[in-house]
Amino acid sequence: MPKPFMNTPPKPEKLGAMTAGFLQEAFAGESQASQKYLAFSARAADEGLPNVARLFDAVAYAESTHARNHLSVLGGIGDSSENLKEAFGGETFEIDQMYPAYDAVADLQGAKEARTSIRYAKSAEQDHQALYEATRAAVQTGEDMAAGPINVCPICGHTVIGDAPAECPVCGTAGQFFRTF
């Protein structure tokens, strides 16, 4: 029996500026579709439609493969040290610029729920920024980070290395509901 052909994702290439611009848009579109479908899957499960929930999960995964392909062609995937630097930079932008500006708009317009959603996100991005910075230092000496569980709050995204706290310090969710990686 001949060995099956194993395909590989599209590769980075030198792109015309116009192509690079739209591929960024396509990456944004696929990323948002994937996240929407995950939220729709949770809703279908709540409505007692497990098979529709599965369809949404599978299609969300398909959109993730498209997002990855576009990101690959854009040259957006580096080695882990570069990826940690990119991730750190993204979190820093969100903490220092994006969420403070967005919160100011929501405050001005009295959007209470929007402010809660923004506050949860900004708080977690601070956890992430610190974790990426510490991890990058380890990788640059050629080492993996220390093994051990990572816990994430299912409501606000608070992220902690090691055991989950008794309750989330950001939103009060009980630690037993944290998702453990």
Binding site: P4, G16, E30, S80, N83, I155
Partner: protein
């Protein structure tokens, strides 16, 4: 001790002025892209022999999906499943009819071959998704779930199939071992 997520109120849908709606859409776009990037970065870390860094990226990706969901909820982006299936169907239709044909044409004219590949893969899979969403919506409107069958996805091009996995992917020729099954 602590609040049960079933009782805990997630950020609630609310009436938003256009400017707040706009910034929340942007925040949703940012969180969605971060979540996808971190999944890819997790795979890269695992390939480099850093499984714990892979786990860190996966955990933080999940945290970003919580933020994306919260933002989407506040801006009333989550409906009943019948409504969600319609929104999903319309999104796929736009990508098939307008977005990807235009993008692919640009990539072709500039001879960016990998970009042509990446857009073609996506456009073909969106056709599968569109018809699956249309079928599912009919069932849900009749008060029924869809059939209890596995759904499999090609991990290279995203080809999506309900039921048996083909011997090789009809879109990109990947081997059947390269499918991920949602059973």
């Amino acid at each position: 001790m602590g609040i049960d997520p079933a009782d805990k109120k997630l950020p609630q849908p609310e009436d938003l002025d256009p400017m707040t709606d706009e910034v929340l859409h942007r925040a949703f776009a940012g969180e969605s892209q971060a979540a996808e990037k971190y999944l890819v970065f997790a795979e890269q870390a695992e390939e480099e022999g850093f499984p714990s860094i892979g786990r860190l990226f996966r955990a933080i990706s999940f945290a970003e999906t919580r933020h994306a969901r919260n933002h989407l909820r506040v801006m009333r982006g989550i409906d009943t499943t019948a409504g969600n299936l319609l929104a999903a169907f319309e999104g796929e239709s736009f990508e098939i009819d307008e977005m990807y044909p235009a993008y692919r044409q640009i990539a072709r004219s500039l001879k960016n071959h990998q970009a042509v590949r990446s857009t073609s893969y996506a456009m073909k899979a969106e056709v599968d998704h569109k018809s699956m969403y249309a079928d599912a919506r009919e069932r849900v409107l009749a008060g029924k779930d869809i059939d209890d069958l596995p759904v499999s996805v090609c991990l290279i091009c995203g080809h999506t199939v309900i039921g048996d996995v083909p011997d090789k992917c009809p879109v990109c020729a990947a081997a059947r071992e390269q499918y991920r099954t949602f059973a």
